[in-house]
């Protein structure tokens, strides 16, 4: 006579395989795979689409509740996102936090760093651009970017950018046309803090709401 567990195997094995492939059925290497975080992860894997989407970043919720200023971000496709200002300017840099936990650091409206935005800009040196933006003088400006690759190593990239200034009905717009060894892009900085800049490999439009919501 066959053992009940063997009979069960036909029904449970596919489930086990599915769970394994989903990655939640594998004993983990750590000596103590016993904590709530892991269990919640298992539930989320098993529940799949039945569970609600990943929660909004708690820090973002707290900032929202505290009425932190908003910067609206719009990528080429998809809905816009309201970024919340995370703390005051430190060394002139303001951190803007997204609902998914990503963050963008800006100095005088120019993106100087990004986190969790794909192709993270870890560090940058944009002093020449900042000087041209402050003085309103066109010319060349070098842009140095230290990005983190997908295998978590830093890669320094240098761009040579042509900075030009043009008038628009709303005020002067500064255009930064950058060329690097592998790629190029054009950022533009408008009046009143609006801009279009490359973030995480995509062009993104920023427009400040300017007031606490």
């Amino acid at each position: 006579m066959r053992h009940p567990a063997h009979i069960l195997s036909r029904a449970l094995l596919p489930l086990g395989l599915l769970l394994s492939l989903a990655g939640c059925a594998v004993p983990l290497a750590s000596s103590n795979p016993a904590d709530g975080t892991f269990n919640r992860a298992v539930l989320r894997q098993v529940g799949g689409g039945l569970l609600p989407p990943a929660p909004v970043d708690p820090r973002y919720l707290a900032l929202q509740e505290a009425g932190a200023p908003v910067l609206r971000m719009q990528a080429d496709e998809g809905a816009g996102v309201a970024l919340r200002r995370d703390g005051p300017a430190a060394d002139g840099v303001v951190r803007w936090r997204a609902p998914d936990g990503a963050a963008i650091d800006m100095r005088n409206g120019v993106v100087v760093a990004s986190r969790s935005t794909a192709d993270d800009l870890m560090f940058s040196d944009l002093a020449e651009l900042q000087a041209r933006l402050a003085s309103g003088q066109p010319g060349l400006a070098r842009r140095f970017e230290n990005r983190m690759t997908k295998d978590r190593t830093l890669q320094l990239q240098t761009y040579v950018c042509t900075v030009t200034r043009a008038a628009s009905p709303a005020g002067p717009v500064t255009r930064e046309d950058c060329a690097g060894p592998d790629d190029g892009f054009i950022n533009s900085y408008g009046p009143a803090g609006g801009s279009q800049q490359r973030v995480g490999g995509r062009m993104v439009t920023f427009s400040p709401e300017g007031s606490r919501s």
């Binding site: 004993p27 983990l28 103590n32 298992v42 840099v93 969790s116 560090f123 690759t149 995480g200």
Partner: protein, 717 residues
Amino acid sequence: MKSVGWWSLFRSLGFALALCGLSLAAAAQIRPTLGFHGTPGILEMPTADMTRDADLSFTLSSFGDMNRGIAHFQFTPRLAGTFRYSALQNIPNQSPDKPYYFDRSFDISYQIMTEGARRPALTLGLRDFGGTGVYAGEYLVATKGFFDNRLRGTIGLGWGRLGSAGSFRNPLSYLSDNFRTRPDNVTGASLGNVGDVDFGQWFKGDAALFGGVQYQATDRLLLSAEISSDAYELEGSANPGFHRDSPVNIGATYRFDNGLDLTGAYLYGNTLGLALSYRINPKAPPGPPSGREGAGPAVVPRDAAVLASWGLDDGPQSGDETARVRAALAAQGLTLLAYERQGARVRVQLRNDTYLSETQAVGRAARALTGVLPPQVEILTLTPVTDTGLAPTSVTLRRSDLEELDHDLQGAWKSYARAEIAQDRTLPLDPGAASPLRYGISLYTGTRHSRPDHPLAETGLRFDASYLASLGNRSSLLLSGQLRQPLALVERDSIPLPDTPGPWARADAGLYDRDTGLEIRELMAEYFFQPGDALYGRLSMGYLEQMYGGVSGELLWSPLDSPLALGAELNLVRQRATDGLFGFRDYETATGFVSAYYDFGGGYLAQIDAGRYLAQDWGATLTLTREFESGFRLGVFATQTTMSAEEFGEGSFDKGIIFSVPGSWLFGQPSERTADFTYRPLRAEGGARLDLSNRLYEPVRRAQQLDDPQDWGSFWR
């Protein structure tokens, strides 16, 4: 041979391609296709191409009652290894009660010369060098791209099975008569007598030419044609559904965006075949490019700290200082274990429950602390503590450096250069810290006793619990247990047992999986201690693993700034009862090893363990591993002991593959854990070791990676 006409055509084409030495353009190399053997190849024949460094490819192929599952890994840009698992039908001497003969084989290939504007790539390969010998063959192959790489031509010289059709006298035999004839056990002449690395056969016996062309018709469609030098004598002799009527194979490969290749082919003049390949690269694993952990905290300069939180209640002025620190770390997925402030200096001991990189955990902790510590605090010493209570490495930082380097272009290496990385003293545990009791439930699946026709043996529930007590003076006591409740088994009635008389040390492992009752997988008390700056110790007692209980002691010497570490381990164990509960069987033994670990840098690691194994055989195990920043890890190991190949039986010696996947990739959220798999073609007596959970080297090495400057980009993630 029937193929003579084809050979004429082939030679004309092949030599023209090979010798013309011209390339109309030095174009970027196309992604090589993986043939029906799962290695870079045209269809059945290999090419000289290499996949991208670190590419891990999986192939399923089927034709003529032959099914293959293959894993191929590009160890280095020029060195690749392959593991092939084949299910063959209708081969000679096959047992009538088993419809399939399961075969495992290993290949290795090395690119001697890379492709240049005027020279082909040249690769030397060994096929099935450590398996049954069913596919045993060697080759030297050249491949060159033309017309902006839209056309790639290959020509090669094969021996063994790759020299079995259209063969001629081995050119090497003109150098030495030793190469004139190939010794026995070629092309699977003795199925079951497997696992030898048969150096004596390599490049011996008749040779044959093979080759072909591949044409990139569109961005997604690749057309292939080849002349095969494989006679398929073994399969063709007893397989009514397959005959080798022609050496010519033709096929087409459709390449999907996601890295999937689907190949259809008309093979050997009478058979249709299909192959499906998928590849990932651990250097750029699937998932969000910047990880799943969200942005960490920004450094809050002291003059801005008062305003930092927009009225949130975690600022430096609110509440108890330790509670603020605890909350700030918890927000980053870190657990505060101990906190001490003396003047301008704070010491923080923490447990990283979230990040694979300890450097990232320390970086987040340091930045989070700048938002909650009083302005007078200038020096931060952070110590990650392992799950076993060890604290191998501490990082001391100046807060002013963090403030200065937060947006410095070279912030990563400057912060590393300014940090002081050493061992520090340990502190009493914070009374408000997380409970030392941890527990959880998870699902498991997999095979516990390796057997080729049992790829999956068991799935069930797993319960874990542990209690960690800090004993002060850099020592801790860990009480831990793991219960398993099997839910489903595969073919439990046919669990194999060795032919030789018992008792067995490991070869009867299958007996432990027959029982479907609740099983105590581990139940033990462990004492961890750090007797010196570079010394770590472990004493374990109890039910140490599924098959053994007893006592185990280990000492590890691992200096922070040295790539070399040395260890010693001694175990006195007795075999447990097969029901997995509290009883014991008669077999007992002493087993122990001295170990050397070497970190070559760049993720390449080597380990040698020499000593006495569970079956009382003496020998050594060599393990080579490549580890990626993403957390993926792949390695191979092999053991040679005093147990002869005859005594060992099928497989001849213990060997296998180690594969680790980062938990963040599996679970879709940040995780410091990895899922580890060890695959052995067979689990036998020779070279058997205890499966201990808490050996010292890995957690210590992981903690010591804080001293790796390459990882300090993660400090700011």
